[in-house]
């Protein structure tokens, strides 16, 4: 069993971070340059961490599999970034952002981490504005805000429909500054294929250069993973095609615990699937829900009619009906599940019946088309490009899609995993969003971890490591890790099978979406575990990678990633099966409110809402690898202790 | 590095040189046109204008050398930039190229080089007045008297004589057409290179370039066209002087 110590500082919640920073050890500036830190990934978390560590004087080596650090998938976030600035004077505060995030996460996040996140959120906006991020402004020249999914205050800062790209370009510019200054050595086209653990500490990585096929060893005093989420396990998702779990998974197989793998966020407003050739689901920003109304026909018979022919009285604005206080702005998990319900009832629209309308008719009548175009023009254009439909004239068709994974490698308050020296940032860790993430909080967490948290907390580890004492790369641990990487390549290129890695990915995605998607059941999950086990075996024997391993080989890259996704999929199903409750993005059909529950009768929740079981499941599930893919993993539990907030039934009515 | 080196070594610096020398050459083209259009007046008008220019050798040679240097810089920058541009795209596209580019912009080097060749010819033709480039006729033999009795070269007769040769006029017209293309792009991109353009002035500058280049073309083309359609024919016939040949001059 792994030992999990969350390292949460003692004392009142709002003082913990300040006290912790003060009590952490410092490293003398002259010594900092003797420490080498490897950072894998250059999204918001990785780029900001690399830049800041280099500014502090550490020798930083940054690795990305992309051709440029600017391409990390943080780039795709559309909506915005939260910060408790209260520039709008609408009652926001650090405490309110903390509380909203805890509640939004359905009481499955750590209080101390979330409070720290809310505290540093204000510094992030300052930092980004100083870097020249072109945030939206009011006419007076000050920053504009908007309200965003699940929040009743306007605390979201944004840059048109591409806040993610602008923040990433800010972090990337900081990275570039330090690369130019010599503080960071940047490796592009470099995919981490294994973690090297020496004497129980993370001390290096094995990397394949995707252009040349060359495999190299890199040692360091600490390794930082900022490698993003694993939603591509579903094959169809809003993730970039290249997003993968490989770095995290190899760390898991070297002993790092994987926290809450089943917590997946399904985003309610994506463009529905149109055919089995599909490679990608496109997100329509949640901001659309500020002015769009979501509905389906009241009667099944109307579903194939043109929306214009369905009278107002025959439409069911189901979110407004079910959640009168939040209406169309209900949190993502709630809105997604509601869409699933109405479609399961046979009232879904579009060719596949898996879709609901997002209607701007009322807003266009109220504000005029010009105003709507000004707010959402680029999104409407994108929708038109993909679907060939004009959303100014006919409602958009939307359906939920996998969008974010709250789970990830387990980390303590210092963002260090249970392997000393291995730090995990951003979406790759499990720490801040509990069982559901609020809109505009992912960017906040990535930058918080990278700019402000890790640079402080990494000293708690490095101060106890001898400066310049990192191991040489000819040690047995490095040799063995490299050999395992080479063995995998040999196997997949010499297999006698015929199936491409992509075909396995599609098959895995279907299993995951059917049995471990928006609604999960005990029997379904058991079946999925069985199916995935079979798939893993079939993959091992029949996957075929064509072409040479020495050079660019995209099939080989995919093969490695799909192999890891298959194993991860099984772990996600096991986690979902173990968690016999519903919470946030994890919905077990067996655990939902029924008309007999007092909460439903009192009007706090709806029939079908998620039912938590705090008495038994108020813990983080940290799974530990048992040494072989077919051996059941070991479950470690970190209890969630709430000192400030009382766990209560989440109500958005 | 000094300023000149910095300018010459940077691609943008060379573009500034192109723009500034282009501007100067544009000024010359306009001035030269205004001078030449005097041909449509009384022959004495242009003859006295030419005499005036030649009577100030210091000014004339100063201007000539200045123009020569301007052309040299313009051409040298253009040729070196073009070579670098070619080198930047060693392999072209099979599926077509230069999507969305303005057609004028694609012929700048070609139009420029032909215009350069034309300028050389033009200088030999009317400035050096080399008989060999004009079918053996020597313009230096054409003289006229101004009202005050001064004996001057008969530039009016020279122009009529020169343009009565059909292939010469044709070459002039082709060169003017190329200048039209060259200026239509050059005049607007000059502003772009110097950074004197934004979303308000961009369209206006583009329209200005198109109109001005057309006016210049029509102005220059009008002279050979007018001669070919008969202008000055009677004047030449009435000139009593016998037509000398190269042999008689020797």
């Amino acid at each position: 069993m792994a030992t999990l110590n969350s390292q949460i500082p003692a004392g009142p919640l709002s003082d913990k971070w300040e006290k912790h920073k003060f009590s952490s050890k410092l490293i003398n500036p002259a010594n900092k340059r003797k420490y080498k830190v490897i950072v894998v990934g250059a999204g918001l978390a990785g780029a900001s961490a690399s830049a800041t560590l280099a500014e502090l004087g550490y020798e930083v080596h940054n690795f990305v599999f992309h051709d440029s650090p600017r391409r990390a998938h943080s780039v795709a976030a559309q909506g915005g970034i939260n910060a408790a600035k209260n520039y709008q004077n609408d009652g926001d505060s650090v405490h309110r952002l903390f509380y909203d995030t805890i509640k939004g996460g359905d009481y499955r996040a750590r209080e101390a981490n979330v409070h720290r996140l809310a505290e540093v959120s204000v510094n992030i906006i300052d930092q980004c504005a100083a870097q020249g991020v072109p945030f939206a402004r009011e006419y007076g020249g000050l920053l504009d805000n908007r309200s965003f999914g699940g929040a009743q205050v306007s605390r979201t800062f944004y840059a048109r429909g591409q806040t993610g790209q602008q923040l990433l370009l800010g972090a990337y510019s900081a990275l570039n500054k330090m690369i130019g200054a010599g503080g960071i050595k940047s490796y592009t086209h470099s995919e981490m294929l294994d973690l090297v653990v020496v004497d129980g500490h993370a001390k290096g990585i094995i990397v394949r250069n995707l252009q040349t096929g060359e495999i190299t060893r890199h040692s360091a005093d600490a390794v930082v993973l900022a490698t993003g989420g694993y939603g591509n396990v579903y094959n169809l998702s809003t993730y970039a095609r290249g997003s993968n779990v490989t770095a995290s998974w190899r760390a898991y197989k070297r002993g790092a615990c994987f926290g809450n793998p089943c917590y997946t966020q399904i985003h309610p407003t994506c463009i529905p699937v149109s055919g089995d050739y599909q490679s990608k689901l496109t997100l329509m920003s949640e901001s659309l829900r500020n002015d769009g109304r979501i509905w389906v026909p009241k009667r099944k018979e109307d579903c194939k009619k043109s929306p214009a022919d369905i009278a107002e009285g025959d439409r069911d604005y189901y979110l407004e009906r079910m959640y009168s206080a939040f209406g169309n702005l209900a949190p993502r998990d709630v809105a997604s599940r509601a869409a699933k319900y109405v479609c399961d009832e046979g009232r879904g629209i579009g060719e596949t019946g898996l879709g609901v309308y997002l209607d701007f008719g009322d807003s266009i009548r109220r504000l005029g088309e010009g105003k709507v175009r000004e707010r959402y023009g680029n999104l409407f254009a994108m929708y038109h490009e993909i679907t060939n439909e004009d959303a100014y004239k006919t409602p958009m068709r939307i359906y939920p899609a996998v969008h974010y994974t709250m789970g990830g490698l387990w980390v303590d308050y210092n963002l260090m995993s249970n392997i000393p020296g291995l730090f995990v940032l951003g979406e790759a860790n499990f720490s801040d969003h509990g069982a559901n993430r609020l809109g505009a909080s992912a960017l906040m967490q990535g930058l918080s971890d990278g700019y402000f948290v890790l640079p402080s907390t990494i000293t708690t580890y490095l101060a106890n490591v001898k400066a310049g004492g990192r191991p040489a790369t000819d040690r047995a641990e490095f040799q063995q890790a490299e050999e395992e990487v080479r063995n995998f390549t040999r196997r997949v290129t010499s297999n006698n099978g015929k199936r491409s890695p992509d075909s396995f990915h599609k098959q895995l995605g279907k299993i995951m979406w059917d049995y471990c998607g928006m609604a999960r059941t005990e029997t379904g999950l058991q079946k999925a575990i069985q199916l995935i086990g079979d798939l893993r075996e079939e993959f091992r024997t029949t996957v075929k990678v064509l072409g040479e391993p020495n050079g660019l080989n995209q099939s080989l890259e995919k093969a490695g990633r799909v192999a890891d996704f298959i194993e991860l999929g099984e772990l996600m199903c096991r986690d979902a099966l173990m968690r016999e409750e519903s919470c946030g993005g994890h919905f077990r059909e067996e655990y939902q409110y029924t008309p007999n529950d007092p909460e439903v009768q009192q009007g706090v929740v709806n029939t079908g809402d998620v039912k938590r079981r705090d008495d038994q499941f108020a813990f983080v599930a940290a799974w530990e690898y048992a040494g072989a893919p077919d051996k059941a993993p070991i479950l470690n539990k970190e209890p969630l202790i709430y000192e400030e907030v009382k766990m209560s039934t989440r109500s958005y009515k | 590095m000094n300023l000149l080196q910095r300018i010459w070594r940077s691609s943008l610096g060379k573009k500034y040189l192109m723009a500034l020398t282009g501007l100067a050459l544009f000024g010359f083209v306009v001035g030269h046109l205004v001078g030449n259009l005097q041909v449509f007046g009384n022959p004495e008008l242009i003859n006295s204008y030419a005499y005036f220019l030649k009577s100030k050798p210091g000014l004339l040679w100063g201007a000539r050398l200045g123009l020569l240097a301007t052309v040299a810089i313009h051409v040298a920058a253009a040729v070196t930039l073009s070579a670098a541009n070619k080198a930047a795209r060693p392999v072209g596209y099979a599926g077509g190229s230069a999507y969305g580019s303005s057609w004028r912009s694609r012929y700048m080097l070609v139009s420029g080089l032909v215009i350069l060749a034309f300028v050389v010819y033009h200088l030999l033709h009317y400035t050096v007045q080399l008989p060999a480039v004009n079918g053996g006729f020597d313009f230096r033999s054409l003289t006229a008297r101004l009202a005050d009795g001064t004996q001057v070269q008969d530039v009016y007769a020279m122009m009529v004589h020169g343009f009565q040769v059909v292939w010469v006029s044709l070459f002039y017209l082709i060169a003017q057409a190329l200048l039209f293309i060259h200026l239509g792009h050059g005049l607007s991109s000059m502003f772009q290179s110097l950074g004197l353009r934004n979303h308000v002035w961009g369209p206006r500058i583009a329209a200005f370039a198109k109109v001005v280049s057309l006016v210049i073309f029509l102005g220059y083309a009008s002279i050979p066209v007018a001669v070919l359609t008969g202008m000055g024919g009677d004047y030449l016939k009435n000139k009593k002087a016998p037509t000398p040949t190269i042999e008689t001059l020797r």
Binding site: V75, P134, S173, G242 | K14, A88, A98, Y99, S105
Partner: protein, 258 residues
């Protein structure tokens, strides 16, 4: 629908490449162009032929990874979108589609349709930033930015760094890219202290990388998936002129305190 593809295949950076023609299987007009390539690749794999290598990632037009010159036009027939947002309904049954990589000396080909765009990173490493240390920033609202400038900066900042401008330009010039980066930061008050130093450093690096010069043909603007305007090139030209005249800064000797 079905189409035939004339595709550039090149084994590696040093190998000679050639066009190969493939017939597509049955396609759906609602497929994206890259999904069409996925389907063709799956078919090639099943026949034992190595799939066509092409760059792609987010498939929603923001990461700038996808490239492809399609029938002579970078990012395909539509204006204002990247290849990943191009759909097969833009083509007709029976069309032959020519697919080529970005062609530029500064973007060497790695394999098939994949080229190396690290030159863009190096340009930005030369000066594409505002030097602000983490933690040293003043309150975000202490520096007002006029809405007009913020909007204009945002227009420039939309650049996704795909390199289509270079691919389209007959001179393989990177001016639109560099000018977008220079203008974004140069328009913000935060970017003023390093404004002229930045433009000098970035343009000089651009020249070093072997991109061509701008001859104002307008191709770059026409193919840019974010429709970035040529006006930014004029803006950069203006700033660079100032930096040339200013020359290098005076050397200052360091000194210890106390």
């Amino acid at each position: 629908m079905k189409v035939s593809l004339k595709v550039w295949r090149q084994k590696n950076a040093n190998a000679a490449g050639e066009f190969k023609t493939y017939a597509s299987p049955e396609l759906n007009p609602n497929m994206s162009f890259l999904e069409m390539l996925d389907v063709v690749n799956e078919e090639l794999s099943s026949q034992g032929e190595e799939p066509i290598a092409f760059d792609h990632d987010c498939r929603e037009g923001i990461c700038g990874t996808c490239s492809l010159v399609i029938d002579g036009k970078p990012h395909g027939p539509h204006k204002g979108v990247a290849t990943c947002q191009t759909y097969m309904r833009s083509f007709s049954n029976g069309d032959q589609i020519v697919i080529e990589p970005w062609r530029a000396k500064a973007f060497p080909i790695v394999k098939d349709l994949v080229c190396d765009r690290k030159a863009f990173d190096r340009i930005q490493q030369a000066g594409g930033f505002i030097s602000v240390r983490t933690g040293s920033a003043p309150d975000a609202n202490s520096i007002p930015v006029s809405k007009e400038n913020a909007d204009l900066a945002m227009d420039a900042a939309q650049c996704i760094g795909c390199g289509a401008c270079v691919a389209a330009c007959k001179n393989a010039s990177a001016m639109l890219f560099v000018s977008a980066k220079v203008s974004h930061l140069g328009l913000m008050p935060q970017g003023q202290p390093e404004r002229y130093k930045r433009v000098k450093a970035m343009v000089d690096q651009m020249d070093t990388e072997g991109f061509g010069a701008c001859t104002v043909t307008g191709s770059c603007e026409a193919v840019c998936p974010k429709e970035i305007s040529l006006d930014f090139i004029a803006r950069m030209n203006r700033d660079y002129a100032v930096s040339l005249i200013q020359g290098d800064p005076k050397q200052v000797a360091g000194g210890g305190a106390g």
